[in-house]
């Protein structure tokens, strides 16, 4: 009982030891940081899985010139939309990895028992997910944008909109991923749940990118995207923690 069972979960022994205030052992912030570190370390040891959504993003972007036309003038018209649809689908694809492994090996159960607020740990997991998929997507977006004929002046706007928008997408997606835990072949259902909720992000993100491509000010839609992200940060971890708890019952 006295030995720590899992070094990543300092709250566990406090809870098992019957301490009156399990939070004395580790603060929420400390626990969240440990979860974030753990997820990053695990993901970086499996780089192949990390690259998949990025490759998917590149392939979807490539489909449009092949399907529509190779003329850059025509592609520029639809570039913002294509980029955002591709980013939305790529981040959807990456959601499956968010909780699945941790649900199978019992880590989520340990989190729920750790005595730490599950909401904080969910937030840390989602933050790790964004760092591993949203941020790389934002960094890759200029490449895709240039290939679709977007002018180089528009790149800061595109990177900013994808970076901020994927924060909201990761948070919305974390709810969907938590709700579909334990369902076999949940891929299509996850899309059906997540995509309608993600539409505002798509609308404002594509709008910001489009304005950037036309050389106009993209501040207004970017601020709306940021508002969606902040709303997601406040509410989404609560919902995904509730969903995870239900799936563990």
């Amino acid at each position: 009982m006295d030995e720590p069972r899992n070094p990543a979960l300092p709250g566990v022994e406090a809870a098992l030891g019957g301490a009156t205030a399990p939070h004395d052992a580790t603060s929420v912030l400390e626990a969240a940081r440990l979860v974030l570190e753990r997820d990053m370390t695990l993901a970086l040891r499996r780089r192949g899985q990390l690259v998949q959504p990025l490759a998917f993003f590149a392939i979807v972007t490539m489909l449009f010139p092949l399907a529509i036309s190779p003329e850059l003038a025509r592609l520029r018209e639809v570039a913002a939309g294509v980029l955002w649809v591709a980013a939305l689908l790529a981040s959807l694809l990456a959601l499956e990895f968010l909780f699945r492994d941790d649900a199978y090996d019992g880590t989520l159960e340990q989190y729920a028992l750790s005595g730490q607020p599950l909401t904080g740990l969910m937030f840390a997991k989602t933050a790790a997910h964004w760092l591993l998929t949203g941020l790389p997507l934002a960094l890759m977006a200029p490449l895709a944008a240039l290939s679709l004929g977007a002018p180089s002046e528009s790149l800061p706007g595109i990177v900013a909109s994808v970076a901020v928008g994927t924060v909201a997408l990761s948070l919305i997606g974390s709810i969907g991923a938590a709700l579909t835990l334990g369902i076999r072949r949940s891929g299509v259902l996850l899309a059906l749940l997540t995509l309608p909720l993600s539409l505002p992000v798509l609308i404002f993100g594509a709008r910001a990118s489009e304005l950037a491509i036309h050389g106009e000010s993209y501040v207004a839609p970017l601020e709306l995207l940021a508002a969606l992200a902040v709303l997601g940060i406040t509410l989404a971890p609560l919902a995904s923690a509730a969903a995870v708890r239900i799936s563990l019952e």
Binding site: L189, L192, P196, R207, L228, A239, S247, E249
Partner: protein
Amino acid sequence: MSWTWFHRLGSPPHIYRLAEQLTPWFAWPAAALILAALYGGLVLAPPDYQQGDGFRIIYVHAPAAWMSLMVYTTMAVAAAVALIWRMKVAHAVAASCAPIGASFTVAALVTGSLWGEPMWGTWWEWDPRLTSELILLFLYLGYMGLRGAIEDPQRADRTSAVLAVVGIVNVPIIHYSVTWWNSLHQAPSVMRLGKPQLSMPMLWPLLMMLLGFTLFFVAVLLVRLRGEILVRERSASWIREVVET
């Protein structure tokens, strides 16, 4: 005065019998109101000076669109009540709402599209109201899909309840973002019809229809709720008494 009435709301046999008794009180007025409103709307109301007789589809379209949102709200409130107070009957209410709401949404979409063909010259227009309605249909389908995918009934209840609550937070955001998106992209050539200013002979059948649809929804909900309770409580002993009498 005590709180027993409130606690009895959580008792399936009580709710089952209550639903049985209440159904005719909603079903008959609903039928009367809908028939009267149809007569008022299709016969008594004068044709619109701009749209002719085509506007009359509003008597089905607008109430159906209104109900699609109201049913979603009812479902989310029932889901929240069920999550907070762990009330089994409230889960059954939320589960019964979803197919009714989805049907109203389909009705609103189909009538909107039928109206759009003669008025806008196209079956489908990316109008903000039509688009939000379509998204609402996907929200309903997602809810029903999630409920259907989970085998354990209690987990299905609670998981889909979380989704319903998340959905209701998002409905206004989706609605406003779609409106905003549309106002930026709307081609100016399309005839834009603002909120119709209806005269009294046109308005009263609409209000009657709205009330009729609401009562109809409650009646169908009560019937579905009884079915839902029967399935959930099929191993309980009180079911035998109910079924045999």
